[in-house]
């Protein structure tokens, strides 16, 4: 979707100015900028995270997620801006003087140390008694379900087990902040799903403020209390998973999180947009002047095939193709020459007897039609 790349900047910039409520926040990042040569990796980013919150940084590759995480850790300090953690300005402090535990994508386990020694590494370096370190390390391994593997070396563990060791090591010093940089991306799909649930429940139990970087939207939606959607070094939206999904703040977020039918259209009056030859009722049109060029976005599951008591736009369509995804199916439709994708349960698919070539009428609720300004049209 090339349009996404050209998503408007104006609204996200506007949102940054009405900065998030920072009072009482555990971690506040204020106007962070980070440059690599002439390239700006973080562009005036502000963010506040509450104590005990689980936040995901989500965005496409190269958008600056890792850069932001490393700035918060002090590993690659920002060029400009302030970071306040637990009321303390840590902007200029080196990583060792900040308070965090971290898990990298590579885990960075010390290969020459046993699992137990890895987990107890920070504690024993503090000169604690050996027995005390061991007891604590064993308790942590118990917590991540590896109590019986303490004597092994990292190379003798599976990827998922290594990930748990890294997690246990990261929380060993009771840090106030846990940073996870794509901790699951090296694992296969099934292990990932299992482990992300474990990470989430561990985080709940410990109540530790956590930031996890991911480019997997499903992962972010399932574990995060709040999601920070990033694009090209800027924050596009900060919100709970359902906010980000249901009311995306920009065309970029709409396209990036979940599937979306995105069609270029024009506002015809306060309640209608024209897309090609079709007219679609949209509540959001009242926020735009008549004649405004917009992107019309509709979630596939909001295109309803069951004729109901629904008021809204009715469109006559023809089925072009069907993609089975197990319990649900994705149906490609064509309405007045417009391509649309609808999602429905397999049961609905069966009861309607849909096959390619069949005609069907669908309805779209006006409240479910999202509109975003179309930058390319205003420029043209």
């Amino acid at each position: 979707m090339p349009d996404i790349a050209a998503a408007p900047r104006s609204d996200s910039a506007a949102r940054q100015v009405e900065a998030p409520p920072t009072a009482g926040a555990y971690l506040v990042a204020e106007r962070l900028t980070k440059r690599f040569g002439s390239f700006t990796a973080l562009d005036d980013v502000s963010l506040a995270i509450a104590r005990g919150e689980f936040v995901c940084f989500l965005g496409p590759s190269g958008c600056g997620k890792t850069t932001l995480l490393r700035a918060i850790a002090g590993l690659d300090p920002q060029d400009e801006g302030r970071i306040v953690q637990d009321g303390r300005d840590v902007s200029a402090l080196s990583p060792s003087r900040r308070d965090f535990g971290i898990v990298f994508q590579s885990y960075a386990l010390f290969p020459n140390m046993t699992v137990l020694a890895n987990v107890g590494y920070g504690l024993s370096a503090q000169g604690r008694r050996r027995s005390e370190v061991e007891t604590r390390a064993r308790a942590l391994l118990d917590l991540v379900g590896l109590a019986d593997q303490w004597w092994k070396y990292p190379a003798q563990l599976s990827g998922g087990q290594q990930q748990r060791v890294a997690l246990a090591r990261a929380i060993a010093m009771n840090p106030g902040l846990l940073l996870l940089d794509e901790p699951l991306s090296a694992l296969d799909a099934l292990v990932r799903v299992h482990l992300r649930a474990e990470i989430k429940s561990l985080q709940r139990r410990l109540g530790i403020t956590t930031i996890m970087v991911t480019h997997d939207q499903e992962e972010a939606l399932s574990v995060a209390d709040r999601i920070v959607v990033m694009n090209r070094g800027r924050i596009e939206q900060v919100g709970t998973p359902d906010e980000v999904y249901r009311t995306p703040a920009s065309f970029f977020v709409a396209g990036f999180v979940g599937h979306m039918n995105a069609l270029p259209g024009t506002v015809t009056d306060a309640g209608t947009v024209a897309v090609g030859r079709a007219l679609i009722a949209a509540d959001a049109a009242r926020d735009f002047p008549t004649g405004a060029a917009v992107q019309v976005c509709i979630r596939p599951e909001d295109i309803l095939v069951h004729p109901g008591a629904q008021n809204g736009t009715w469109l006559a369509t023809a089925v072009r193709g069907i993609e089975y995804l197990g319990s649900i199916a994705r149906v490609s439709l064509e309405a007045h020459g417009l391509p649309l994708v609808a999602e429905m349960s397999d049961a609905a698919l069966r009861s309607l007897g849909l096959v390619p070539g069949v005609s069907i009428t669908v309805s779209i609720a006006p409240s479910r039609v999202l509109l975003f300004p179309r930058a390319d049209a205003t420029k043209a």
């Binding site: 900065a19 801006g81 990298f104 290969p111 020459n112």
Partner: protein, 565 residues
């Protein structure tokens, strides 16, 4: 919001203790290279512009150099001998390396070991052997039909032997980086074997050829031992330096010749760097290693090639070993161990061997940890990129500085009355320092390569756990890198044991190394004793190398639990 209205504040990171430690390591490394490398070379440069009284005379010495036909003649001699040697070594080494990497020839491990054997011997061992065979009293002298081995012929043959191992190593590395998929593609396209060689093999090995060529050329131009022993009246740059400085005590002219000697080495170094940058890596991350299939038509001739070369290598070493056991060449061929009683030929006796072992042991024991720690600092000191860059460059400079040049530079620098480090002069200390600097670059590059393979986030994790950097260095980096540190130590030991060129200017009577005693015994006409000393040095290096292989095995066994993947 007020926060947004204010201009974002710039961040000035406060340096942590870790940063300070790393910066200090880099600074120390820089200081070390400045004092032990840059300053002596500066003193040499300055000397070349001065007269005997130390007054600045501009280019007068250089002009005198150009106007002395004998000296210019040596320059020409050095150049053509080096060029010819390179032209002979490259195809021989290419064939050998090709056989080691791209054939299914039997006995590859054996042939690889033989090719590397000369590294363990002093460079003039082959020259001594040639003298036994073709010298004035040589048993094969009639084969020369009136010609003489003393001069370019003897130099070239000996240099070929001496330069063969590094050439094979470089070419084997270049050739082993072959991607099997390219060959499969070529085969699928029914390309002829010659065509595959021309379009796939040679381009991939081109950088290796260029690099090996420069290395061999530089080695020959800067080698001192071989022309000294077998050159006769045939003068080259390296022997000129020695004659000017040790023979005529003409330090100014010695400095000028030293600068001239530095020029081709530096040019070769720069050209090599240029070639390296031009080389687009032929081995992508997903390359499939090439495994040769059996093909008698190719493997047979290659086996013959390797066998002949290996036989010549072993033959030359064998002749030297045999010569060292002969009572009185060529009249009394009965065997004896009398030549190993060095006290009969040289007042230092076995003491010079012990001096060499001491020198080599100190060089390895101090050099390897030093090189590794400095390399670690340069890799990890992220807060001072400019300083680290300069020191990193300085660490690669010794590769371009011939031992002889470093040797006379040390004389000028440490012998200067004003130098507070002058007390080192005439001690084992200066020999150790000189050897560490002389062989610094290879150890540095090996360390850097090893460090780059470690997870870059070890330090980040350690910082988050509040563990100081030195502690993680000792607890994680060193144990993982132990094999490399050991490699560097052995490399330093063997080179310090066998080198002649730099130490020949710096020894004192009671610190004289075995390699210098060897040269002196040869000068005094005691060929058998010289051969015995050469074999003793070879045996010592070989024993240490064997110890290395054994230790490596022990380390591998002890650590296999965590190294296996």
């Amino acid at each position: 919001m007020t926060a947004a209205a204010r201009a974002a504040q710039r961040v000035r990171p406060v340096r942590s203790t870790d940063d300070v430690v790393l910066i200090a390591v880099v600074a120390l490394g820089g200081l070390f290279l400045a004092v032990a490398l840059a300053a002596p070379l500066g003193a040499l440069l300055a000397k070349s512009f001065q007269d005997e009284a130390g007054r600045f005379v501009g280019l007068a010495n250089y002009i005198r150099y150009v106007e002395t036909p004998a000296l210019l003649g040596s320059l020409w001699n050095s150049l053509w001998v080096a060029a010819l040697t390179t032209a002979i070594v490259l195809p021989l080494a290419f064939g050998y390396a090709y056989a080691l990497t791209r054939s299914a020839m039997p006995g590859k491990a054996f042939f690889r070991a033989i090719a590397l054997l000369p590294i363990l011997a002093p460079s003039l061992l082959p020259a001594l052997a040639l003298i036994y065979l073709f010298g004035n009293q040589g048993m094969l002298k009639p084969l020369l039909m009136g010609g003489t081995i003393y001069g370019p012929a003897g130099i070239i043959v000996s240099e070929v032997f001496y330069c063969f191992p590094p050439a094979v190593l470089i070419l084997a590395t270049a050739l082993s980086g072959a991607d099997a998929r390219l060959y499969e593609a070529a085969e699928a396209l029914r390309a002829s074997r010659i065509r595959v060689m021309r379009t796939v093999t040679l381009p991939a090995a081109r950088y290796g050829m260029v690099s090996a060529g420069f290395v061999v050329f530089t080695l020959v131009i800067t080698d001192f031992g071989i022309p000294k022993v077998i050159g006769g009246s045939f003068n080259v740059l390296a022997t000129d330096v020695y004659k000017q400085v040790v023979g005529q005590q003409n330090f100014q002219m010695g400095a000028v010749v030293g600068m001239v000697l530095l020029a081709p080495a530096v040019l070769a170094y720069l050209a090599d760097g240029w070639a390296r940058r031009r080389q687009t890596s032929s081995v992508s991350a997903r390359a499939v290693p090439y495994v040769a299939k059996r093909r008698p038509k190719r493997d047979g001739p290659l086996l013959l090639h390797c066998a002949v070369i290996a036989a010549l290598m072993l033959g030359l070493i064998g002749v030297a070993a045999w010569g060292s056991l002969i009572t009185f060449w060529p009249w009394n061929l009965s065997l004896t161990l009398a030549n190993y009683e060095f006290g009969r030929f040289d007042s230092a006796g076995w003491g010079s061997w012990w001096n060499s072992v001491t020198l080599a042991a100190w060089t390895a024991a101090i050099g390897a940890p030093l090189v590794f720690v400095f390399a670690y600092g340069m890799e990890k000191a992220k807060t001072v990129p400019a300083l680290a860059g300069i020191v990193r460059f300085a660490a690669t400079v010794p590769l371009a500085v011939p031992g002889l040049v470093l040797g006379i530079a040390y004389i000028f620098y440490f012998n200067a009355p004003a130098n507070p480090a002058g007390f080192l002069y005439g001690t084992t200390g200066i020999l150790v320092l000189n050897s560490i600097v002389h062989f610094y670059t290879v150890g540095h590059l090996a360390s850097v390569t090893a460090l780059k393979q470690l997870d870059p986030e070890f330090e980040s994790v350690a910082a988050s756990l509040k563990v100081p950097v030195w502690r993680s260095f000792l607890a994680v980096t060193v144990p993982i890198s132990l094999p490399v540190i050991l490699d560097v130590a052995i490399y330093l030991f063997v080179n310090a044991m066998t080198t002649v060129s730099a130490v020949v200017f710096l020894y004192a009577p009671d610190t004289k190394p075995a390699s210098v005693a060897l040269v002196q015994m040869d000068e005094a006409g005691q060929a058998s004793a010289a051969a015995a000393m050469a074999i003793t040095i070879l045996a010592t290096s070989a024993a240490v190398k064997a110890l290395h292989v054994w230790t490596d095995g022990v380390i591998a066994r002890r650590t296999q639990a965590w190294r296996s993947r």
